[in-house]
């Protein structure tokens, strides 16, 4: 097939699977934003969809769609690079395809049950078949088991392919990391009455995913991406990856303690959690240095402009969202006032977007380029305003939302916590202050900006490179 037209014949087996994963990821991304907007609107108009789609339902769909689309994106990205990295064809392709369809069917059923059944009576059956009622991992138990089976199939495909072909530094880190990602999920799969113990394990999944194993995973994808788009030297990139793993896990594993200040756990977590989590920004700074340095060395000459722009957005977004906004509330003296307020939401949004949405979008652009037969995607592509505006609107929208939420969070910690004594009445007093309400209004406005950026992004992903017959510009190999 010719350059500029979509064809699966341009892709390897693993890459064809990746496109399927990416497609579902984009659909769920759109769903995430839609339900986020509904939930945000309910802050402004509490009657909106009251007892039809309550806040709790919209929020659950919002955050679950996020977790699932990002996992889909990561799985897609790994299928994308596995064959090139291993030098052989994907092992167990039929099984991998089956895994995709089973997982997608399960996700569809889970979402339909969330929307139409919503809640159940107070029995274990509700947790098995409707929802588990634990933020981020609400998926009912049957789906948990399904997810683990699909992850095992995925793990088999990836590790068997590397085993058959060759290993590299990147693939070694990647496969070990996948074991940890899947293993940690098990910590979120049982019911416990003792809330302190329950939340202890709950954070093993949430924190250890986003601040340890997912960070390592995107480190691998980033390493591969820099080699691909810029022609960075593999040796240097791999060394950087090891340094980042050492710093990230060296701080992130015990950084877990920043969630153990107030859940009943002993006071030594103040010291352990405060100290190690305060170090977590260090690897994120290293990543920025790495990405910018490599781009500079190659004078930004690269094979895929939108992808590289999103890789760089990832480096900065990770640094600001996780590093700066995480650091702000990670010391116990501050967290005492900000814990569980809009302040947390502010950080949560910028961190998830900055660290994980960005790099997924970069990989989507890598995908579309090859799907169109390694079409040209460097300087002077047609309609390049689309990807530039999509990038700007998404980043601007998210920055605006984050600042608006921070202002609300500041007001909430001040009025509800510091002055009000954190009672039911004090909660509502804070919710109605002018600054808080303004923050909620502006979050919604910036949310619409974000949503318009997403529409543009999807349009661009569907059309970029269409009809362009120039071949991809090959990156120049590193001089150093």
């Amino acid at each position: 097939m010719s350059i500029g037209t979509l064809s699966f014949s341009h892709l390897t087996t693993g890459q064809q699977l990746a496109i399927k994963y990416y497609s579902v990821a984009v659909i769920l991304f759109a769903a995430q934003v839609l339900f986020g907007l509904l939930a945000g609107l309910q802050y402004l108009r509490p009657d909106f969809l009251y007892e039809v789609l309550d806040f709790s339902v919209n929020r659950m769909v919002h955050v679950n769609a996020m977790v699932v689309w990002m996992l889909y994106g990561f799985m897609g990205a790994i299928f994308w690079l596995v064959e090139e990295e291993a030098g052989v064809e994907l092992v167990g392709a039929k099984l991998a395809n089956l895994g995709f369809w089973v997982l997608t069917a399960a996700v569809t059923v889970v979402v339909l049950v969330y929307l139409f059944v919503q809640i159940g009576p107070g029995t274990m059956e509700s947790l098995w078949f409707i929802n588990e009622g634990r933020e981020y991992i609400e998926a009912p138990r049957w789906a948990d088991i399904g997810i683990v089976i699909c992850l095992l199939i995925f793990f088999y495909n990836i590790s068997a392919t590397f085993m058959k072909g060759k290993w590299s530094g990147i693939s070694g880190v990647l496969v070990l990391d996948l074991v940890a990602v899947a293993g940690l999920y098990l910590a979120g799969m049982f019911y416990i009455t003792n809330t302190s113990v329950e939340q202890y394990w709950w954070w093993w999944v949430i924190h250890m995913w986003v601040e340890a194993t997912w960070e390592v995973l995107v480190g691998c994808i980033m390493a591969w991406g820099l080699i691909k788009t810029l022609g960075a030297s593999r040796k240097i990139v791999t060394t950087w990856l090891y340094i980042e793993v050492a710093l990230m896990l060296g701080s992130g594993i015990l950084g877990l303690g920043h969630h153990y200040f107030w859940i009943g756990t002993p006071e030594y977590w103040f010291t352990v959690g405060g100290f190690f989590s305060a170090l977590e920004p260090v690897p994120l700074v290293a990543m920025v240095v790495h990405a910018v340095y490599d781009s500079g060395v190659h004078r930004f000459k690269n094979s895929n402009h939108p992808a590289l722009a999103w890789f760089i957005a990832h480096a900065f977004g990770n640094f600001f969202g996780a590093g700066v906004f995480g650091f702000m509330h990670t010391l116990p003296q501050i967290n005492l006032y900000t814990h569980g307020s809009q302040w947390s939401s502010s950080h949560g949004h910028l961190a998830f977007f900055g660290a994980y949405a960005t790099i997924n979008i970069a990989m989507f652009y890598m995908g579309i380029q090859k799907w169109r037969g390694d079409v040209y995607m460097s300087a002077n592509i047609a309609h390049s305003w689309r990807w530039k505006w999509a990038l700007s609107l998404l980043c601007l929208g998210m920055t605006g939302m984050t600042i608006a939420l921070l202002i609300s969070g500041y007001e909430q910690s001040f009025i509800e916590r510091a002055l009000g004594g954190a009672t039911w009445a004090a909660y509502f007093e804070a919710q109605q202050t002018a600054w808080y309400v303004q923050g909620m209004v502006w979050r919604q406005i910036w949310g619409y900006v974000f949503a318009s950026g997403l529409v543009l992004l999807i349009w661009d992903l569907l059309t970029i490179g269409k009809g362009d017959t120039r071949p991809m510009l090959l990156p120049e190999p590193a001089e150093h």
Partner: protein
């Protein structure tokens, strides 16, 4: 080009492995210790036995720790019934499962974790808005069964929806919330002003 020793791939691979292994071991050791410290009814007293719902719960300022700590008072059985530890466990469990099945965490926080659309429930049992000790239990049950008619909002239009909570479930939730309020949270939420109770000083 020769790489200097401190920039070698091999060195950093080893560093990454050793650091990760070391931190994991430390975490496992601390986890053993913490799980021991937060066992319900454990000797550290941080998380109380479920039968604590038979007693009054106060908060007292601990000068040494410089924060308010839970103090268990004399007998004040929930709904007038003294329960054994097993019965109390069963009741609290029923309440906790109900909070999962109705996804309370989709609007509220427990121990500060969850959603921010509604008040934190860590100490809702001690919230002064329930008025007086004598009417609190029944008010809570009534509210949970029909939060729409019994809405407060304190000037806001935000209401909790009706979640089809049965009488039995509502009683169990109150038991769970009472037990939850006895966890030693190192002073979170700060400055909490509890409802006035008999025996307060």
């Amino acid at each position: 080009m020769e790489t200097v020793w401190w920039a070698s791939e091999d060195l950093w691979r080893k560093v990454a492995i050793w650091i990760t292994a070391f931190m994991t071991v430390v975490l496992i050791v601390l986890t053993y210790d913490s799980l021991h410290a937060i066992t319900a009814g454990g000797e550290s007293g941080r998380v109380k036995a479920y039968s604590v719902i038979n007693n009054r719960v106060y908060y007292k300022f601990d000068k040494e720790r410089n924060l308010p700590v839970p103090v268990i008072g004399d007998s004040a059985p929930l709904f007038g019934k003294t329960l054994t530890e097993d019965e109390a466990y069963a009741l609290v469990t029923k309440g906790k499962i109900t909070t999962h099945a109705k996804n309370c965490m989709g609007c509220h926080t427990f121990l500060g974790n969850g959603a921010y659309y509604a008040p934190d429930l860590t100490k809702s049992w001690l919230d002064p808005a329930w008025g007086s000790e004598g009417v609190r239990e029944e008010l809570m049950v009534t509210f949970l069964k029909d939060p729409e008619t019994n809405a407060r909002g304190f000037g806001s239009d935000r209401k909790m929806p009706n979640l089809n909570i049965t009488d039995e479930e509502a009683h169990a939730i109150v038991a769970y919330l009472k037990w939850l309020s006895t966890i030693d949270t190192n002073g979170f939420p700060r400055n909490f002003t509890p409802i006035s109770q008999e025996g307060d000083r």
